[in-house]
Structures are given as structure tokens and as C-alpha cells.
Amino acid sequence: MRKIVYILFFMVVAVNAQTKMSSSESTTLKAKVKAHATTINTLVSDFTQYKHLDFLSNDIVTSGKLAFKSPNTVKWAYTTPFKYSVLFKNDKLFINDEGKKSDVDLGSNKMFKQLNSLIINSVKGDMFDDNEFDILYFKQELNSEVHFSPKDKEFSKYIKAFHIVFNDEGHVVELKMIEPSEDYTKIVFNNRKINTSLSDAIFAE
């Protein structure tokens, strides 16, 4: 009997390794992330993307570089195992698929428009919008993890929740987009550099 109590106790402890934040802790985190986001003029980071599909033996791993320029220009450039980039700029989406270029007018595409603002806000970590998301705050050792569930019914057909992990400085270190099926895309950021001068060529169409 005592053994069972111990086991139960440890199970509870293990589950609680990620604990809910108090409201003052979440207010502090929001303030920290927002303050940090407003100082970002440019940002570059390496990223590794893990596409998890439950039925696969291994996640599909792709990687590349992310570049952001305030207020709303973002480029995701995949370099491995293929060369592919998407550039969000002036309400348009420019695609370069191994040299083959195309563009999409975001004005006509609500889904892409939402994706664009989400990407920018999540890069900056500033997506604490209670009108758009149900938000839950957790702490895990030094990091914080925030779960954003879209309130928009159309949007939640595609993405059930975004989980963003912030380090103790309030920088985004991991972004996970979870589909209604529980399959997910996880993006881990590395070598983040803020406010370095970026050549215009990076954001050329």
C-alpha cells in the first residue's frame, strides 16, 4: 500500500514538472516579453523544424535561417534538405522554390494573413491577445511555456494550439503548432542575433 502511495506521489510530481503560473508570474512574463519585443528592429536565427506525424517512425527534420525586420517583414529560408524560402513583405508572400519564384497576394487570403501576423508575433513572442486566444501559462525550471488556443473556429480547424517556450530573458526558443489530430510542427531556434544590421538583399523578392 505504502509503495502505491509513493508511486502515486512521484507520478504527481512528474506531471507537475510543468506547473501553472500564478497570475503575478504570468503578468511579469508578459511584461518582460513585450518589453523585449518592442526593442527588436532586426532578428536573425537558425532554426530546426521537426514535423511530427504520429504514424511515422521519425520526425521529418528540416532546417534553415529566419530573418525578421521591423515592423512586418519575415523570411523563412529552408536550406536543408532543400532550398525553399517564404518572404512575407508588404502584404504579399514571395516564394522561392529552388530558384522558381512565385507570389501570393495576402490581401485575398485570410488564412495566410493570419499566418503572417502570427509568425511575426510569435517570432517576437508578442501574441498575448486574449481576444484571439485562450492563454495558459506554465513554468518549467528556468523557462516559461505559454499555450495559445485560437478562439476563431475557422482557424482552430487547422491549428488547435500554439505552444511557445521562452527562456529566462523572454526570448522565444521553441514554437510548437499542434493540429486538431495532435500531429504537430515544432521549431527550435538557435544562434539568435538581435538588432544586427541586415543587408536588403536578404529581403529582396
Partner: protein, 201 residues
Amino acid sequence: MRYLLSSFCLLFLACGSYPKKQNFQIEQSTTSSFHNPYFSNASKDYVYKANITVYDNNFSGIFIVKKLGDHNHRIVFTTEMGNKIFDFSFVNDTFKVNFIIEAMDKAILINILKKDFKVLVEEEMFIVKSYSLENTLIHETTLDGKSYFYYKTQQLDKIVRVGHGKEKVTFLFSEISDTIANQIKILHSNIKLDIILKSIN
């Protein structure tokens, strides 16, 4: 009248059998079935970079095939950023759409994709007739009432769906290493739909 006659002649020519038009020689087949090896290993994740061109729209992304058991395959297409575009299951003779984005949720398109992908994952084909052309062996088979011709030189390198003696869909397998086709092209001749797959794992 002459016009009518020549029309009949044309019609006759057009309806001539595919093997005849291709100058195939009939061969005595030694086996009754043919094995398509390209998606037959259940321990492997088949992952391709894909370009799908429908009329003048180009969709690129990641195309994933997984064998989950005998007569059980899952096919998923996502964007490069991981968003699912479609997710299909082929189990025995049933086909299920697990997910598809609204923009592609059209019965006609789904039906075409279903027919194309079924050819990719169908492993054992019953041989109706066999032919040869130079150093290529060609097996005629049927799948869901349609005629297919499987071309094999060293390996299976082409499948053609034929209707009324004409090529309707051509599947090309190239850069083959062992049992993996590193490049696959699915080309339609009666509609503007091409699917190009390049292995990335």
C-alpha cells in the same frame, strides 16, 4: 460520304489497341503477378519534396508515404512549414480522407488523386498479358476497372494508365536505388495536372 469514311478510318486508328500502336510483341509471361516495390517497406518513412501543378497553380510541399501494414498505406501532403494540405488512408479497398484543406476539397480532384496514389501504393498486380519492346518487358494489368501497363527494364521505371488506346496518366520512376525511386513524376495527358516528387530522406 468520303468525309464520313475517313472519319471512320480515323476513329478506327484512334481506337486501335495500345500495345499494337506501341509495336509491343506478345510475350509468354512466366509469372502471374507483378510486384511494385517502391512503397512496400513498412519500416521506412518515404519523404519527398513535391510540386503539384494544377492548371496554372503550383503547390509545393512535403509528400509523405508510409506503409502501416498489409494493404494499408497513409499518404500526407504538407506545406514546407508543416501545415497539412491533405491526409489520405488506403486500407484494403477502402479510401478515407482524414483531412483536406477547403480549397482542395473537391470530389473531382480527390477522385483523381485517389486513383493516382492508389497506383503508387498497390503492391501486387495481377498480370493480364505480357509484352516486350526492345529490352523492356511490359505487363498489362487492371486496377479498379482501368488498364495499366507496367514497364520494366532493370527495374519498374514506368506505369501508364490507358483508356481508349491512349495514354491518360504516366508514372515515371527514376534515380532508383535499391527499392527506392528517388524521383517520381505523375503526368496527366487529359487534364493539366502534374505531380513531381523528389526524395529527401
